[in-house]
Amino acid sequence: MNIAVCIKQVPVSNNVSVDPVTHVLVRDSAENMLNPADANALEEAVSLKERYGGKVVAFTMGPPAADKALRTAAAMGADELVLITDRVFAGADTLATAKALAESVRRCGAFDLILTGSESSDGATGQVGPMVAECLTLPHLTEVRSVEALEAGCLRGVKKFKNSGARVSVRLPAVLTLSYGCNDPRLPTFSSQIAAKKKTVIVHTNEDLALPEDAVGLSGSPTEVVDSFEPEKKKNAAFLSGSSAEIAEKILTLIQEKKGTGKKGADNG
């Protein structure tokens, strides 16, 4: 069972603001970490490897410093690390990112499974997983909550779908995106962390991937970010008032509104 895991390095803090004059993003900290849902994908991959054998290869695209996320992956049990990095990849939207990731995965041999987190904690589009699947013409499942069994070339699992669940089966090879919190990711230890630092990182530049220039980076992106600005957010909470019963009613209304638009079964209230 060979498993590719696509991971992303994200900022530790989403506390960003926008310079009112230049509209450039100002981050309150330069500290990065492994995307939380990707840790769930890695955990699933490593535990499948422990059950069925094979290897886990972690892929990430980003600047050279993104190798930190790969080191974390190695400390959690990834066997091989691939860093996709090249100036021409910079400014990629989800489509251009997926094309580069998919090409890198394709060049690293045959995989039975490709896993990733269901979304990143910064961009949170959730698009790259299904896009990689399409680039590799593989089926996919998003928001997988548990992998139950592998049998007869198929994987059976439970996924979230519109506030309910579904037990589904997918023919392998396939791409799965794992929900945040679906398992308890193992932690790096002193020794695994130190060993991870010594691990070789395979670097893929566009010389290795040989993607046409109009397919990668900013020029390969059909969309572009043209502006950023502060949302109209209240610094302080809006206070709810009324009798206790009225406040309770308001709280429940707010919760139900946020939970979605009254889907069948979603309202347990």
């Binding site: 530790v12 900290s29 330069a30 500290e31 790096p188 230890t189 002193f190 020794s191 130190i194 630092k197």
Partner: protein, 386 residues
């Protein structure tokens, strides 16, 4: 009695403890400015250990330690949890004869103050208290059962509440952007909300930020930063199953955090001439988690292998980096400066939770009555000017 107006910059342990002690004087008119939230800066990253003795503060200052400890016990008695006390006891390991000597003195002081304490040489007993450690190469251990660690943020918030109850004002999310100095006298501050405030005294309680704060008053505050790097470990098996005491070795210390173990390099092991350990950095750039250097993992790995082998296979849950503000002699900076009316209550160097209550008690007296104390003289800013 005329009012004495005091402006406090910084709402960490230093500022809130001082604000509270000042608020005990009827004629004090106090405004505390905090640019973020109370106790959210380096105070929030403090381990909060206030042990009856250890090597963080020399036995000479034992009354400082005891006053801090008992202030927090009093808080806890008034309202459970208001100082975040976890009574785990403390185990201080004697790795050499000189450490052993310090421990024996500490134990004697502890007992003299009416608390439980023992110097233990029976290694089986030490293993019983903390099964994870290696007892082969140690001489013994000092064990006090009545202490443990507190929560700096909780304490700061409790002090802030108490001072407000006594009539003081606490302005959070309010940054001091200018210190008004007229003819070498600090006379007030201007804040980020565009208001001006006149004071008789302005006190810098900004700890690691003091270099920047001092500049606003035209003062060079000789503060260095040493790195306080810490890890949260998940011990093998994920459950401790016993009370993990505050554990002190000369090079590091540890305490429990739920079922996890918090472990940090001790500040006396920091080398001010090593740019990896000490420098002058911008505390605003400190990330809330992470930020530790790679060397730290290797350092801890070696320490664990040698001293606490039971933690070597721990999971690394998270890490954080904080800055301790220290003058070169590792003692606080208190009291008057060359700028009249500009007072320092900074440089606690990671010992703020231990030292701030006693230091603030004395500093409040100095500000309100003009009377100094031996402690203030010892920790005076002037000592560094010679």
């Amino acid at each position: 009695m005329g009012k004495i107006r005091v402006g406090i910059i910084g709402g960490g342990i230093s500022g809130t403890a001082l604000g509270y002690h000042l608020s005990l004087y009827d004629n004090a008119e106090i405004v505390l400015f905090e640019k973020n939230a109370i106790g959210c800066g380096t105070t929030a990253k403090s381990a909060g250990t206030v042990c009856l003795f250890d090597d963080s503060l020399r036995n000479r200052y034992w009354d400082v330690r005891l006053y801090g400890f008992e202030s927090y016990l009093k808080m806890e008695r008034e309202e459970k949890g208001s100082a975040g006390f976890d009574k785990t006891g403390t185990l201080v390991i004697a790795t050499s004869e000189s450490v052993e000597k310090t421990i024996r003195t500490g134990i004697a002081l502890t007992r003299a103050a009416g608390y439980e304490g023992a110097y233990i040489t029976d290694k089986a007993r030490i293993k019983e208290i903390l099964p994870l450690i290696d007892v082969e190469n140690i001489l013994g251990a000092g064990y006090t059962q009545d202490d443990g660690y507190f929560d700096g943020t909780m304490i700061s918030n409790t002090y802030a509440r108490k001072m407000q109850k006594n009539g003081a004002a606490v302005r959070t999310m309010t940054q001091v952007v200018e210190i008004v100095v007229t003819g070498n006298k600090a006379t007030g501050v201007k804040t980020s909300d565009g208001t001006s405030h006149a004071f008789d005294y302005v006190v810098d309680c900004t700890g690691p930020w003091s270099g920047f704060t001092g500049k606003m008053a035209g003062l060079d505050v000789p503060i260095w930063h040493t790195k306080a790097e810490a890890f949260f470990l998940s011990p093998p098996g994920k459950k401790l199953g016993y009370v993990f005491p505050v554990l002190k070795y000369p090079a590091f210390y540890a305490l429990r955090a739920g079922d996890n173990v918090f472990i940090c390099k001790s500040h006396l092991s920091m080398d001010l001439s090593n740019p990896m350990h000490a420098g002058q950095w911008d505390p605003d750039k400190l990330p809330s988690t992470g930020g530790t250097d790679d060397y730290f993992i290797e350092f801890l790995f070696e320490q664990m292998k040698a001293s606490v082998p039971g933690l070597v296979e721990s999971g690394l849950v998270s890490s954080w980096l904080s800055y301790r503000a220290e003058p070169k002699d590792f003692l606080p900076l208190l009291g008057k400066t060359s700028v009249e009316g500009y007072i320092l209550a900074t440089g606690y160097g990671g010992n703020g939770i231990i030292e701030a209550p006693a230091a603030s008690r004395d500093l409040a007296k100095l500000i309100m009555t003009g009377e100094s104390t031996p402690l203030l003289e010892d920790w005076a800013f002037e000592r560094l000017l010679n």
